[in-house]
């Protein structure tokens, strides 16, 4: 009796695990950022099909360097001090958490060793489905175009994988997004693999959040940080020369649905 009970229980647990694995999908992307000091990052999209939720992880630590132009190389060689954004100890990822069912999006970003929660507004992307097709790594893909916060995105999606999700905030197509590029060619996402056999989704270290901000508040914080802290006169007896830092210029988002006044626009 007891053996039978445990056998049934075991089968139940195994079955639960299999169902859970089918409900969870992991898609790995590589993002290439074509900036002054270009680099690639591994990024991971965890999909919970049942709950219609996604969690997107951006690995800011293990970056793969790209090719730096001669001009930038020269400038770097002449610099006396070279600095980059620091991160909290053990902090690898930034996160984009989307509840598509509830139309909620929350970002978690490590900005100069400060871990912020940013409550953003859900991107209701309006895609134009285009007639073009192409094959990407054996997957038949179709093209779609959308505009979001000042950037036009061109995406290639695979209708054979009917998951309406994609990298970063991009979603809402009748197939997983296999490639996406903004029309300036600055941000490029490419799907690297897809895994249907996962059971766990990573946990966001929410205990490290020091402040919860809206998207607008976060932008204003960055504006103040760069222009009044990083570029502030450092010491008595020293004259500083620096141009103001436009925090949206090279960003994935350059225009906003809300009114915002940046310091460099004065």
């Amino acid at each position: 009796m007891s053996k039978k009970f445990f056998l049934v229980l075991l089968l139940f647990i195994v079955n639960l695990g299999a169902v859970s694995a089918q409900n969870h999908v992991l898609v790995k992307y590589v993002e290439f950022i074509n900036s002054d000091i270009p680099f690639s990052m591994n990024e991971f999209l965890y999909i919970d099909k049942e709950k219609n939720q996604t969690l997107y992880l951006i690995d800011y630590v293990n970056q793969m360097p790209g090719l730096i132009s001669d001009e930038v190389q020269q400038e770097l060689a002449q610099a006396d001090v070279f600095a980059e954004p620091g991160r909290l100890d053990g902090s690898i990822y930034d996160y984009v958490e989307i509840n598509h069912a509830q139309k909620e999006i929350v970002l978690y970003e490590d900005f100069y060793k400060r871990f912020f929660q940013i409550n953003d507004s859900y991107p209701d992307l309006q895609w134009e489905l285009m007639p073009e097709t192409k094959e990407v790594d054996g997957l038949a893909c179709k093209k779609a175009v959308t505009t979001y916060r000042g950037k036009t995105w061109e995406a290639w999606y695979a209708p054979s994988i009917p998951l309406p999700y994609g990298p970063w905030k991009l979603h809402g197509l009748p197939g997983i997004i296999v490639e996406a590029i903004d029309t300036d060619g600055r941000f490029i996402y490419k799907m690297a693999s897809i895994d249907y056999n996962i059971t766990e989704t990573p946990k966001i270290p929410k205990d490290k959040v020091i402040k919860v901000l809206s998207a607008k508040e976060y932008l204003l914080f960055q504006d103040d940080f760069y222009n009044n802290v990083i570029l502030a006169p450092p010491t008595r007896g020293v004259t500083i020369t620096a141009s103001s830092h436009n925090v949206v210029e090279g960003s994935r988002e350059t225009e906003f649905e809300f009114d915002i006044e940046f310091s460099w626009e004065d």
Partner: protein, 115 residues
């Protein structure tokens, strides 16, 4: 032109060696600075002494390049108002680096160009 190169570790030792972090130490307190140097790593002292700090006073200029999270570079330059010794020049840059690190930046390289 003289150029001193220090490791980031040396910078930290230098910045934390007793200078007031909110002001430039003037050349009049030079002896005091030397006193503080005695507490520093011998290797750093050796480098500074080799730079012939006792005989020269020049303008101190420096350039900071920092990259944002997208890999775009921003440049900030600083120049002393008048001539200073290499010790004071080092101090100016050390304070700047310390402040940068206090903001959460990660300083990868550091040198001082003292013309």
């Amino acid at each position: 032109m003289k150029k001193f190169l220090f490791s980031a570790l040396a910078v930290m030792a230098f910045a934390g060696s007793g200078f007031a972090s909110n002001e430039v130490v003037s050349d009049s307190s030079y002896d005091k600075e030397i006193f503080h140097f005695e507490n520093l790593n011998a290797k750093i002292i050796d480098k500074i002494l080799k730079a012939d700090i006792l005989n020269n006073q020049n303008p101190c200029s420096y350039t900071i390049v920092y990259v944002d999270r997208y890999g775009d570079r921003k440049t900030k330059t600083g120049r002393s108002e008048g001539n200073v010794s290499s010790v004071v020049c080092s101090n100016i840059v050390a304070i700047e680096i310390k402040k940068l690190e206090e903001t959460g930046a990660s300083v990868k390289e550091f040198s001082i160009e003292w013309k």
